[in-house]
Every structure is written in C-alpha cells, then in structure tokens.
C-alpha cells in the first residue's frame, strides 16, 4: 500500500516536472520563431528604406540635371547666341585682317552653342524619353567620336523596344556613368557598346580597352561611380556585373528582364 502510494506520488511529481519542462521547451521554440520573424521584418524594412532612399537620391539627381539642362538651354546658349550675333555685326564693319579672327571666334562660339545644346539634351529627362534609349545613346556616341577623345562603337542585336521611360533613363545614366569613368580613369582608346534586345531579356554591355583595375578596387568600389551603377541597376530590377583586372580593361554588363514588374 505504501509502495503504491509512494509510486503515485513519484509519478505525480514526475508528471509535474515533465509538464513544466515541456512548457519551457515550447516557450523556447515560440521565442526563437518570434526572433526569426522579427529579424525578417527588420531586414525587409531596411531593404525598403534603402530602396526609397536610393529612389529619392536618383530623383534629386534627375531634377538637378534637368535644372542644369534648362539653364544651359535657356540662359547660356541664349547669351552665346547673342555673342555670335554681335560678332557677326562687328565682322561686317571691320578690315579684312581682323575680320578673319572675328569670323573664327564666331565659329567657335557657334560650335560651343551646338555642344551646349547637345549637352543640355543629354542631361534632360524629357529629351531622352522622347528620343528613346537607342537613339539617345547613338547621339551621345556621335558627340564623343566627334570630340576625338576616344573611339566608341555601338552595335545592336535584335529589334529595339522601350523598357519604359524610367528604365530607359536609368540605363542611359548607367551608360553615361560608364562613359565618364572610361574617359576620366581608364585611359582607353576604344569603347564598345552592345545592346541586345531579346523577348525576355535586355542586355547592355560596355567594354573598354583601358588600364582596368584590381579586384580590391572593385571590392572597395572607390568613388560612388561603380556603386551607383549597381544600385541603379538593382532599382529597376536588373543586375550589373563589373569585371576588370589591371591591364585588361573593364567590362560592365547590365541585364534586365523587361517583362518583370518593378515599382520604379
């Protein structure tokens, strides 16, 4: 009888102990799930914040560029046009010896007006949107080739189509950034541009034969230029891969699915 009672008591104690232990284990599992869920939510918030911040930065950049474009077009070119006109008037009333110099100066001013107009168009969002991506890049290539700084070739594979105004603009800015880097840092003689238009894939490839840079530079992404390229590509749902090594130039490839919906 005593043994039976003791057994019952021991069983009750063990049952209580087991119950409390199971409760603790259940709590630990619940807690861990909550921690994971919180971590995921935080990461999502951070990602959204980063994207919003980037979007805002790019919008501010575009507004600034548009403003500069407008100022160049409305003010600077107007003033230069007036200077050109005035020089034309002066040329008609002076002797031959000095006339040549004045005409030469007038032509330089005319050239500046043309270059400034081209620059203004390349900065302006509306102009890019109306011309389309391919045509805008072609015009830019013409301008650079005319300058003689570098030889740029452009090739197209497939029938061109619009990626959407915003995406076209971002791709064009990536092209401008790459061109800027090539001219400023690479010391390249040739730049090849390839635009591949497939049904479910758009690929922009920019390859130069410049001095290239090491993987470490790429890791540190010195200057905001390379970082900007990757961020802009990510913003429109694409990916940018940058490959380079010292002495072997640089290859930048932007891949984008035109069918994929992206808020920006």
């Amino acid at each position: 009888m005593l043994d039976e009672n003791v057994r019952m008591v021991v069983f009750s104690s063990a049952a209580l102990f087991a119950f409390v232990t199971l409760f603790i284990i259940y709590f630990v599992v619940l807690y861990r799930n909550k921690q994971l869920k919180n971590k995921q939510e935080q990461e999502e918030l951070h990602a959204n914040f980063r994207q919003e911040l980037l979007k805002t930065q790019l919008e501010v950049q575009e507004q600034t560029l548009n403003y500069i474009s407008t100022e160049i077009h409305d003010n600077i070119t107007q003033v230069l046009s007036f200077v050109k006109l005035t020089l034309g008037n002066i040329a008609s009333g002076i002797e031959d010896e000095k006339k040549g110099k004045v005409i030469e100066t007038r032509e330089l001013v005319a050239q500046s007006i043309t270059d400034l107009r081209d620059l203004s168009k390349s900065l302006s969002f509306e102009h890019i949107a109306s011309q389309g991506l391919l045509r805008t890049i072609e015009k830019e290539v013409e301008r650079i080739n005319k300058s003689g700084l570098i030889e740029v070739s452009i090739n197209q594979d497939g029938n061109s189509y619009s990626l959407g105004e915003q995406r076209d603009l971002v791709i064009f800015r990536i092209f401008q950034e790459t061109l800027n880097n090539t001219l400023k840092h690479a010391g390249a003689r040739h730049l090849k541009i390839m635009l591949q238009y497939h049904t479910d894939l758009f690929i922009l490839t920019l390859e130069d034969d410049g001095s290239g840079f090491s993987a470490e530079t790429l890791e540190n992404k010195s200057g905001s230029g390379l970082r900007n390229i990757e961020n802009r590509a990510a913003l429109i749902g694409g990916t940018a891969t940058i490959e380079s090594s010292p002495g072997r130039g640089c290859n930048i490839k932007v891949v984008l699915n035109p069918l994929k919906q992206q808020p920006y």
């Binding site: 005593l2 009750s12 209580l16 709590f27 807690y31 909550k34 921690q35």
Partner: protein, 215 residues
C-alpha cells in the same frame, strides 16, 4: 550536516562566488539576485541554530519566506517593462507583507507553526509573475539567443521552484500521514538544488549578456 544539506550549501557557495565575481557587470535585478544567496545562507544557519536551541525553526521559516518573496518580487519589479505590471508587483508585495504578519499572529503562529499558507500564497504569486514575464519576453524578443539571456534562466528557476514547492506543500500532510518524511526531505532539497543551479546560470548569463555585442 546531512549529505543533502552539504550539497545544497556547496551549491549556494558556488552561486555566491559566481555572483561576487560577476557583480559589477550585472544589471540591477541580478545584483539583487546575488543578495538572495547570502540571505538564504544566513537564514539556513539561523534555522539550524533555532532548531537546536528552541526545538523549532518556525519563526525563521516565516521570515525566510517573506524576505525571499520581497527579494524575488523586487527582481520582477525591475524586469517588468509595463508600468501596470510593476504596480501590481508593488501592491502584491505590500499585501503579502500584511498577510505574513496576519498569518504569523493569527492563523499559523510564527513561534510554532510551519507557514504553509504563506508559502502557498507567495509561490502562487511567483508562478503568476513568471508567466507574465514569459509573455513579456514573447512580446518583446531581443536579438540575443534565449539560452544566453539571464532573464530566461531566472524566470525558469522561479517557475520550477514555485510549482514544485507548491506541490511539495500540498503533499506535506499526505507524506506525514504515510510517515514518509523522506519524501518531504528529498523533494524539498531537489527543488532547492534546481533553484540554485538555475540561479547560478542566470547570473552568469546576465554577466555574459552585458559583454555581448547586443548589450
């Protein structure tokens, strides 16, 4: 001194050692927890002296129950974030102190009776507090792994100790009827071993927490 008493005493000394070494880096509630250990040692010694001199340690047990409850509820006061819950802890402590005096004078005289009513009430309150704290931990999880959090180990120790003591008190009369005093003995000491071990882990975890990158 029996083997069980020696083991318990050793555990208390080890926990006290951990508490003293880690004291400066502990948060306020855990600093209070360190103080419960020397208080327990002192009261245990007084209990032995009282048993030897007066053949009863009932008064010491009354005091021990009340003093340890005040300590543990103070620790919970610091751990709870909600102002309402803190007020509940504060009010309950005042009520329990009042009840302890009432119980010691009228219901279970402190000079001769074991304070079973007081133990039951205080343990019930501590179980309630531990469940509330578990709920708070779920609502506001932190980045640190749960097994590395001192608050988890302290709360677990309270839950274990309070529930087992509650059962132990419930079974005390039954054991006495069966003349199975050994049952009370082993159960009582088993509960204290778990409490002391988990207290030591809680103190060490709180010390490590403060040094972690999430502190």
């Amino acid at each position: 001194m029996t083997v069980q008493e020696a083991v318990n005493f050793s555990l208390l000394i080890i926990v006290l050692g951990i508490g003293v070494v880690c004291y400066l880096k502990l948060t306020t509630p855990f600093k209070l927890l360190v103080f419960t250990v020397p208080v327990t040692i002192l009261l245990d010694l007084l209990s032995k002296v009282s048993s030897h001199l007066y053949k009863t340690n009932a008064l010491i047990l009354h005091l021990e129950c009340l003093i340890l409850y005040i300590f543990y509820s103070s620790i919970y006061y610091y751990l709870f974030q909600s102002k309402t819950t803190k007020k509940i802890v504060l009010v309950s402590t005042i009520v329990i102190v009042g009840f302890a005096f009432f119980n010691g004078i009228f219901l279970q005289p402190a000079y001769k009776s074991f304070p079973s009513y007081l133990y039951m009430v205080t343990n019930t309150m501590l179980v309630g507090f531990s469940l509330l704290l578990f709920k708070q931990m779920l609502l506001y999880p932190v980045k640190i792994n749960i097994t590395g959090q001192g608050i988890f180990w302290y709360n677990t120790s309270m839950l274990f100790f309070s529930t087992t003591m509650f059962l132990n008190l419930g079974l005390t009369n039954y054991y006495s009827q069966l003349k199975f005093d050994q049952g009370i003995y082993y159960f009582w000491y088993g509960s204290y071993y778990i409490l002391n071990i988990l207290t030591g882990i809680a103190l060490f975890s709180n010390y490590k927490e403060k040094n972690s990158k999430y502190a």
